[in-house]
Amino acid sequence: MNGFPILSLMLLVPLAGAVVCLLAGARQARMIALAATLIDFVLGVLLWVNYDIGGAQWQFTERVPLFAGFSWALGIDGIALMLIMLSVFLMPICIGASWRSIEKRVGEYMAAFLLMETLMIGVFAAQDLFLFYIFFEAGLIPMYLIIGVWGGQDRIYASYKFFLYTLLGSVLMLVAMLWMANAAGTTDIPTLMAYDFDSRVQTWLWLAFFASFAVKMPMWPVHTWLPDAHVQAPTAGSVILAGVLLKMGGYGFIRFSLPMFPEASAQFAWLVFGLSMVAVVYTSLVALVQHDMKKLIAYSSVAHMAIVTVGLFAFNTQGLEGSMIVMLSHGLVSGALFLSVGVIYDRLHTREIDRYGGLSINMPYYALFFLLFTMASIGLPGTSGFVGEFLSLAGIYQVSTWVTLICTTGIILGAAYMLYLYRRVAFGEQKHADAAAMPDLDWREWAMMVPIAAAVLWMGVYPESFLAPMRQDIAALDARIARARPVGDSQVRPGKSGAAVQVSATAHEGAH
């Protein structure tokens, strides 16, 4: 595949689809959108198959000096590959989820989604600082429209909040990028990742990037836009928001903050830990008391993302690998949970938990899938959630036992709110006649659930498939940040039988 601009093609296919959708009628627009996303998925699979594990760090690179001041530079490493795969995998499912529930302005809706796909792939594939920024920021426009036009009742408030929060977070990053490009004399991301900025300047640059990624992630206390946006967005919007857009924050940390400012990252690790610990406990408790299903899942996203951030700033391989797997897993699982909510929302048009009950009686297959995703969200061994959380917590254990202790409570609380949700929705008596009369999954919903369920189990049983492409890049990142690694309090030493790993494993298991 060398020389063939497959990444540009992956950007172009949904973009062209978006333009055609704008002009097409409702039925055609759905078909075009599905076709475009499926073509992109096939291209993504080709990308993965042709990705040379253990080969060059940056593959499929393209570089055309098209613009003044920055260039059309694309290329991926294993980390970007996995996130692109997540995006192209979720997109056809999103289109499927909107097949019937979106009835007004279908062409524009599909166009917005396809545009979103282009921009998401662009963010992960960009190798130029400003190209990245353009893709990163441009995502605001289609998402603003998706929430505002096709959202729920309070959609306008939610869309404003989403737009302005994320914009404010990002603009300072632009100034930092301009400074970096000026100081380093290049806008090439791989070069900047190896460039050593002065450690005092790093502090400021790190904070500017943090402002953007923390909002995107989102971290406590700037997470408040997320529940609003999630609740108001249409189902597919929530899936994309939780599944991919939140990952941009984590990707930003792993691509920019850590390798470009290792000293500042170490200096501020305590801040990240502090905010993450608060997030894990606080948002989990908030999730416990929600009456709205989507809101509950939104808060659980914030808690899961906090595990990602502690893992990233653990400064070791387990932490980084774990965070990446949590991101991928959360992308699948939270997407699937939003789909599950969407399935019953389409039937009853309410997200109120109390309006449901005993769905396992009349919707047994639905209850089965919902249970699987609930368990994956909790982190049951055998599902994707377990692998990621275990690795991140093992990583953070080497840095701070206290942080590990507090973050592990997130798993207990996670089990609490998810099982409580599941009990109220699927088990118990059939309190309401209309909820009891809902039909089980139709073939379209089966087609959306089965691929995600398969991926969740695959990642849980054999995570090596997903870790292998990233291993080399994470090792390189680990080597890059090694010089700033903070001294941990757990004093882990390789024992005769790998005792250290077992200790943290027991701690983790005990939490279940």
């Binding site: 302005r105 920024y133 353009i134 893709f135 920021e137 404003y160 302005l164 914009l167 404010l168 100034v175």
Partner: protein, 487 residues
């Protein structure tokens, strides 16, 4: 330098003067029936003038090569860049007018003529290398503009706009003249080169006052805070094609003139005026953004938006570097097209009887009734807010890049953070057009000229515009180099 060379250098201005005199006669005898023909002639003349100055920019004429009439007039690459923008803005203002005025039975041949004269004034302003030339150009531009603001004689708002513009404009001219006389008194010269040489070793207190007064007078022309008060009223009251003109050509002319005065005449004393410019820049950004939030009229909103954008352009001036000047020119070029697209879009909003629709509430749900106009206006709004991938982002990008390169990082950080306030009202317009229920006010047919212009400008501000960045950047660099060419 002989006279023929001088005359050759001012060819576009000569052509415009000559054509405007001929057209004046034509409208004296032809009357209102001739207005279409005169409009066409004026537009063709403006485009021809743009073609005439293009080679000057292409070949990057600097300093003595462009100096005409013993240094009174400077036809260099910098002037050429600004002139092309002025002529294009003016040509569009001429072209969009007939559809607007004819429905009100107010289409008169004086309109294209006055635009032509105002563009001539602007053209002289940007070529001024002497305080006297500056004043002649400025007054020619202003006097034509006052009349234009009051062009709808039967409309009270238009008359009010004209009067307000005149009274406040005369005050500003007075301030400017006072500053010029002080400058002349302390520098002993009216030429920019002479002033530059005289203040090279430092500004005396009197010369400082002179510089400040000159800057204040010009700040009025570009509508920078705190000299912006006239803008919303004049923009709202003036007929929309005239507002289109005000927001583009005179703004470019005044901004280019400000650059000449600040960077040429007082270029060695940037430390003295930088703080004033920084204050005006930040105040304009913040005030323009907050003022716009409560507005209910689209034209008033665009007025506040122009105040806001002037703030961003002034950040480039505060750099006092060639990069800063180049960034300002790129911003001006992009801003010109965005504003043209915005006003052409507003001109296309008509109700069933053909009345212009200007209230924001009346464009509710426009995306469902007129999706094309709504999409173009939404692009303009996102572009003005500086959201990538629209082209408006590039203007902000180069300006902030110049500020960072000049070491003004705090200014860039504050300025860009304040741009988020502006984003609030821009996305409010998008919200009204896309999220709200249709008000079904905008049902009228649009003129084909408007549709074509809207399409062209919308393509320019779309991501396709980025393909022009290299070319635009190179031209602006050439122009900025001419400005910084010390005689």
């Amino acid at each position: 330098m002989d006279l023929s060379t001088s005359l050759r250098l001012v060819a576009p201005e000569e052509l415009m003067s000559f054509v405007s005199l001929v057209l004046l006669l034509a409208c004296a005898w032809g009357g209102d029936r001739a207005s279409r023909v005169i409009s066409a002639a004026a537009a063709v003349t403006l485009l021809a003038c743009a073609a005439l100055v293009a080679p000057t920019l292409g070949s990057g004429v600097t300093g003595p090569d462009g100096a005409a009439f013993s240094g009174l007039f400077s036809a260099d690459a910098f002037a050429a860049f600004a002139k092309i923008l002025i002529y294009l803005g003016a040509a569009v203002a001429v072209v969009v007018a007939p559809a607007f005025f004819e429905r009100l039975h107010a289409m008169r041949p004086e309109y294209p003529l006055l635009i032509l004269l105002a563009a001539l004034g602007g053209s002289i302003m940007v070529s001024a290398s002497n305080l006297i030339t500056l004043y002649i150009g400025l007054e020619l531009n202003s006097l034509a503009s006052y009349v234009l603001a009051a062009f709808l004689r039967n409309d009270e708002r238009s008359a009010e706009a004209g009067l307000k513009y005149f009274v406040l404009g005369a005050l500003a001219s007075g301030i400017l003249l006072f500053g010029m006389s002080l400058t002349y008194g302390f520098a002993g010269s009216t030429s920019f080169a002479g002033i530059r040489a005289a203040v090279d070793s430092g500004l005396s207190a009197g010369a400082t006052f002179g510089a400040v007064f000159v800057l204040a007078g010009l700040a009025f022309k570009i509508a920078a805070v705190p000299f912006h008060m006239w803008t919303p009223d004049v923009y709202e009251g003036a007929p929309t094609p005239v507002t289109t003109f005000f927001a583009t050509a005179p703004k470019v002319a005044a901004m280019a003139l400000l650059m000449r005065v600040a960077l040429e005449a007082f270029g060695t004393q940037a430390a003295v005026w930088r703080e004033i410019v920084i204050f005006a820049a930040l105040a304009s950004i913040v005030w323009g953004a907050f003022g716009a939030i409560g507005q209910a009229n689209l034209k008033r909103l665009m007025a506040y938006s122009s105040i806001n954008n002037v703030g961003f352009i002034l950040i480039g001036l505060a750099c006092a570097t060639p990069q800063g000047a180049s960034a300002m020119l790129v911003y001006l070029a992009i801003y010109l097209v965005m504003v043209l697209a915005g006003f052409v879009g507003i001109l296309m909003l008509r109700d069933g009887e053909g009345e212009q629709v200007e209230a924001i509430a009346d464009i509710s749900g426009l995306s469902r009734t007129r999706p094309g106009i709504a999409a173009a206006l939404a692009m303009v709004m996102f572009s003005l807010a500086g959201i990538p991938p629209l082209f408006g982002f590039w203007g902000k990008f180069v300006v902030f890049q110049a500020a960072v390169q000049a070491g003004l990082v705090p200014l860039a950080a504050i300025g860009i953070a304040a741009s988020v306030i502006g984003a609030f009202y821009y996305i409010k317009i998008v919200k009204v057009m896309y999220f709200d229920e249709p008000a079904n006010r905008v049902t009228g047919r649009s003129d084909w000229v408007h549709s074509v212009l809207l399409t062209v400008t919308a393509v320019f501000i779309s991501p396709f515009g980025y393909l022009l960045t290299k070319w635009l950047g190179a031209l602006a660099d050439t122009a900025a180099a001419a400005l910084f060419h010390v005689v």
